[in-house]
């Protein structure tokens, strides 16, 4: 059984791998990204329902040091995706092989740490445009080449990807039907990771930082009702280290009456084991809105 690939507006998509999983297909593709000016890979899961009709799309943003592989091999989400009939797309976390000086110096800045912003500082601003990639280029690519319904889209992620999911949803009211996150970085302007990344990508002007900070964005969120689900491991070292700061986000949402259910999960840490435990709940959360 093969898919029909139409030829309109086709960007060069190269299939890297394909594996059957829960009656659907887990594939990895590579393409030339315009925003990031380099080759980018992404994972895409096509449920069995996609053989016959267009399905909603759910975007997953991974955290620091991840590639497109971590989520598709460790999270164990394919069964739920298959049952609910959702196409799940997992891009990489930053541009790769751009030969920028210093990109590989730290694990929390540069390669594998794109922070889902459009950098304005040299030498990052040419390639490090993950925000535009995730919100513009990638959806266009997916819509053109896969059986997805462009009107039904949601986003979720883990840690840095959780931050990415929250800001994409808050900066684009109405674009995403639902959003959820695992141990997200909720208030980057106040945590060490965020400060390091934003000063590197965006410079010292803190007003530019706030545009990519979920806690700040919520305070002026005008938009349509979001229903946010957040899971946080109680034994997550980064929580104790003050990198994640969910309380700030919750307080802001309470103030603005943005519906959030925040679950502090006893005994769980920051790893993919934690993600695998609750991924089904998150997928169901999104399916409720995407399949409505």
């Amino acid at each position: 059984m093969r898919l029909i690939f139409t030829n309109k507006g086709r960007m060069a998509l190269k299939e890297i791998s394909s594996n059957k999983c829960f009656e659907g297909l887990q594939k990895v593709f590579e393409h030339d990204s315009v925003e990031l000016s380099c080759k980018m890979k992404f994972g895409i899961y096509l449920p069995p329902k996609a053989e016959t009709e267009k399905c909603p799309a759910l975007y997953w943003l991974s955290g620091l040091t991840c590639t497109e592989q971590n989520f598709i091999s460790k999270a164990g989400y394919q069964q739920a995706a298959s049952e609910h009939g959702l196409v799940i797309i997992a891009p990489d976390t930053s541009p790769r092989g751009c030969s920028i000086k210093g990109e590989d110096e730290s694990w929390d800045f540069g390669t594998g740490a794109g922070f889902y912003v459009d950098a304005t500082e040299d030498p990052w601003k040419t390639n490090y445009r993950m925000y535009s990639y995730v919100t513009e280029e990638l959806p266009r690519l997916i819509n053109a080449n896969f059986p997805v319904d462009p009107q039904r889209m949601s986003i979720f992620g883990h840690s840095m990807g959780g931050h990415g999911a929250l800001i994409c949803a808050l900066k684009n009211p109405g674009k995403y039907k639902s959003v959820s996150a695992f141990a997200p970085i909720c208030n980057p302007v106040l945590c060490p990771w965020g400060k390091k990344a934003f000063s590197g990508y965006l410079g010292t002007d803190q007003s530019k930082w706030k545009a990519y900070d979920a806690t700040h964005l919520v305070k002026s969120y005008p938009g349509s009702q979001l229903d946010i689900l957040i899971d946080q491991g109680k034994d997550d070292q980064f929580l104790t280290d003050g990198q994640l700061l969910p309380d700030n986000f919750i307080a802001a949402c309470t103030e603005k009456k943005v519906p959030v259910v925040f679950r502090l999960q006893e005994g769980y840490d920051h790893s993919y084991y934690f993600i695998a435990t609750f991924i089904t709940d998150h997928i169901r959360h999104h399916a409720k809105y995407l399949n409505a």
Binding site: R2, T254, V258, P259, V260, V261, F262, E266, K288, A292
Partner: protein, 731 residues
């Protein structure tokens, strides 16, 4: 494609061929099967050793044709009929134009195997070819299905009407000519009315069976009574008759004896006389002889003796000789006294008092709550002028106590006795009267009045989408035999609902299975020996969502339930503690109340409207949850607790004192609760924003009930009977 499918009708659609890659198509005829067909056929032809080989070939071919016919007819379902042998259905239907269209196939069957597709219909040893068939058909068979169906549909449409006048189905086309004047209805309507009639007839038959059985029983009793009555008559007559005979015999004996004695007396008397005579004679003779001797004696002696003799003679002759026969030989006239016998004989012919009537057993369903209809019969030729019916209530009390007996005189053989007490047994007996007197009393029959109708406790109805639990008060002081629940689906006014009855209910409650999202009218009757009571006042039950009443027995003294039955209030003032009820049914520590949820495993959904500033707890608990503990503090309850303090909302989801760490940013005003027995889950929702809050996984070995508590003064309002909203169905 078009050319070959010349035989196909114009609206026959082919699947687009380019959906599948060419190499994915299956070959229409697997080589092996084809040859089998050919070989088989060739073999058959060869086996025909007679010169008329063609003829023999025809015989198996006649068979073939039959098989072909069948195969062809069923070729539509070819894939389905031989399911296991079917290929994966992935044979593309583009095969069809390559195969022979229907018309061509028909032609082929009429000829010998000359065509290039011998696999078709060459029967022979059917199995291999059938495999070929099945394999080859795949999608193609569906095409045949498509092809053939239009014809069938035409026929169906044509036969869709029913002529009431002729009582036969007709094609729509024929209506105008033959049945132009006749009444015509749609086939389904006719079906329905035919079914109705059948049902009615069945009902009549059932009734008749019942009547005949009753009648048969009654006849038996009458039979027995006739035997008894006639037996009695026979006995009477026999004893009567025996009496007469005895009397006669007795008289005979007496008379004979009397006669005998008389005879004896007479004979003795006569004999006495005879003896007397004999003596007299002897004396005379002796005297004579003496005298003669005297005459021969000397003169002197003669004179002496003669004087003596003369004295003797003189005396003797003076003695009266009774020569009268004292006893007459005649037989005196004796009339026998038969008067008593006569009397006895006469009494055989006088009019007797009647024999006892037979009182009938109570006819089913002939009683009402206050009356019974008593019937009896007379099974003899007796003349009866009137009957006297007596009755008294049957009591279990000591027999020494005299119950008042009521009596009434009636002329008919039945009587409706009124003014009776419901659900009570009465003993009836009847006697018949005529001029000769009164008959013995009949057997006593017990009749029972029907019970009073029960009263349904309408405020305590529990329901869900699949069932309802209703309970009622008996309405009778004494026990009844059983109850019957009657329910009717409330439909649109034109359609009258069918009444379903649940019979033989032993207790005052019933769990009835129902259809979801309907409305039903339900009522209850009590049943006893006398028949059913009148219908109770009906209640209406809606099977949308789950409905439960609040259980006042569990209510903490500081809580009150408003008149609507669903608003729970904790007032500012703490009410004085109410008397504790026996048994631990009231919450004593947690100011809570529980509902009574219908004990049906399935999914139940209800909502609670809360005040954002109130401290409340809502959830579920088992019946036997410890009432002196807080909700959620044990293993028998699961609940969501909200506390509002210093402008902060705190939420806990408690079970066995443990709660996960949950933060909720938008405080719910309406909480939806989903209890899912099938998946062992209890979920909470913010209904207004369709937000899922939390789900417990709970082992529900028994049935749980909704519970509600207010930790501070406030109120909450329960809403139930709501269909599950869509967003809830995801959980």
């Amino acid at each position: 494609m078009d050319g070959k499918a010349a035989g196909a009708p114009p609206d026959f659609h082919f699947y687009p061929m380019d959906l599948y890659d060419p190499e994915d198509r299956l070959h229409p005829f697997p080589e092996g099967a084809t040859q089998t067909g050919r070989e088989a056929y060739a073999e058959m032809a060869e086996e025909a050793s007679e010169p008329g080989g063609v003829a023999l070939g025809k015989a198996p071919r006649a068979q073939e044709e039959e098989v072909d016919e069948l195969v062809h007819l069923y070729a539509l379902g070819g894939a389905g009929e031989w399911g296991s042998e079917l290929a994966d259905g992935s044979a593309p239907c583009a095969e069809v134009p390559e195969h022979l269209p229907l018309g061509a196939q028909r032609d082929w069957r009429g000829e010998a195997g000359e065509r290039s597709c011998p696999g078709w219909g060459a029967a022979g040893p059917g199995r291999d070819l059938r495999e070929a068939y099945g394999y080859a058909h795949g999608r193609a068979s569906e095409e045949y299905e498509c092809y053939v169906i239009p014809e069938e549909e035409d026929e169906d449409e044509a036969a869709l009407v029913f002529c009431v006048t002729c009582k036969a189905p007709v094609r729509a086309l024929e209506v105008s000519d033959e049945h132009g004047e006749h009444e015509v209805t749609a086939l389904d309507k006719a079906l329905e009315s035919a079914k109705d009639e059948v049902h009615k007839n069945m009902f009549k038959l059932e009734k008749q069976i019942l009547e005949m059985e009753n009648f048969a029983n009654h006849l038996e009793e009458v039979f027995i009574t006739v035997e008894e009555n006639f037996g009695r008559q026979e006995q009477n007559f026999e004893s009567h008759y025996n009496e007469i005979l005895e009397t006669l015999a007795q008289k005979y004996e007496e008379k004979m004896q009397a006669l005998g004695e008389k005879k004896k007396a007479k004979l003795e008397a006569l004999y006495g006389q005879l003896v007397g005579c004999g003596e007299n004679l002897d004396t005379c003779k002796e005297l004579m002889e003496t005298i003669e001797e005297m005459c021969h004696e000397e003169k002197v002696d003669f004179i002496k003796d003669a004087v003596a003799m003369a004295d003797r003679l003189g005396k003797f002759l003076n003695t009266d000789t009774d020569v009268e026969i004292t006893t007459q030989p005649d037989f005196e006239d004796q009339t026998l006294d038969f008067s008593d016998v006569e009397q006895l004989m006469c009494s055989l012919h006088t009019l007797p008092a009647p024999s006892a009537p037979v009182i009938n057993p109570q006819a089913p369903n002939s009683a009402t709550g206050s009356s019974v209809r008593v019937c009896w019969s007379l099974y003899s030729d007796d003349t009866v002028e009137s009957y006297q019916l007596s009755y008294r209530p049957v009591r279990d009390s000591a027999p020494g106590k005299d119950q008042a007996v009521f009596t009434m005189t009636v002329k008919e053989t039945y009587c409706s006795v009124t003014n009776l007490v419901p659900n009570t047994q009465y003993e009836f007996w009847v006697t018949a009267q005529n001029k000769a007197g009164s008959s013995p009393t009949s057997e006593r029959a017990v009749y029972m009045t029907a019970p009073s109708p029960p009263i349904i406790k309408s405020k305590e109805i529990q329901s869900c989408e699949e069932a309802a639990l209703i309970c009622w008060e008996s309405g009778n002081l004494n026990p009844v035999d059983s109850y019957t629940v009657e329910l009717t689906q409330v439909e649109t006014p034109e359609a009258s609902g069918v009444t379903e009855s649940v019979v033989g209910i032993p207790a005052c409650e019933s769990l009835v299975q129902l259809q979801p999202r309907q409305s039903y009218t339900m009522s209850v009757r009590a049943l006893n020996m006398g028949g059913p009571s009148a219908r109770s006042d009906p209640v209406t039950v809606h099977t949308t969502g789950s409905r439960f009443p609040l259980n006042q027995h569990t209510c903490h003294p500081w809580l009150t339930v408003a008149d609507d039955g669903f608003t729970v209030v904790r007032s500012e003032r703490e009410a004085p503690p109410k008397e504790p009820l026996p048994g631990n049914t009231r919450f004593s520590r947690c100011v809570a109340i529980m509902g009574n949820l219908i004990p049906v495993r399935g999914r139940h959904y209800w909502e609670v409207e809360v005040d954002e500033r109130a401290d409340y707890t809502v959830g579920v608990a088992f019946d036997d949850v410890p009432k002196e503990e807080d909700l959620g503090a044990n293993r028998l309850s699961w609940c969501m607790r909200h506390r509002f303090a210093s402008s902060r909302h705190e939420y806990e989801f408690l079970h066995n004192k443990a709660t996960p760490g949950i933060r909720i940013t938008v405080s719910p005003r309406k909480i939806g609760i989903l209890l899912d027995y099938e998946n062992s889950k209890l979920s909470f929702f913010n209904v207004d924003i369709s937000q899922h809050l939390y789900t417990f996984s709970c082992q529900l070995h028994g049935f749980v009930h909704p519970c509600f508590s207010l930790e501070k003064p406030g109120r909450l309002r329960i809403r139930n009977g709501i269909a599950m909203p869509t967003h809830v169905t995801f959980y």
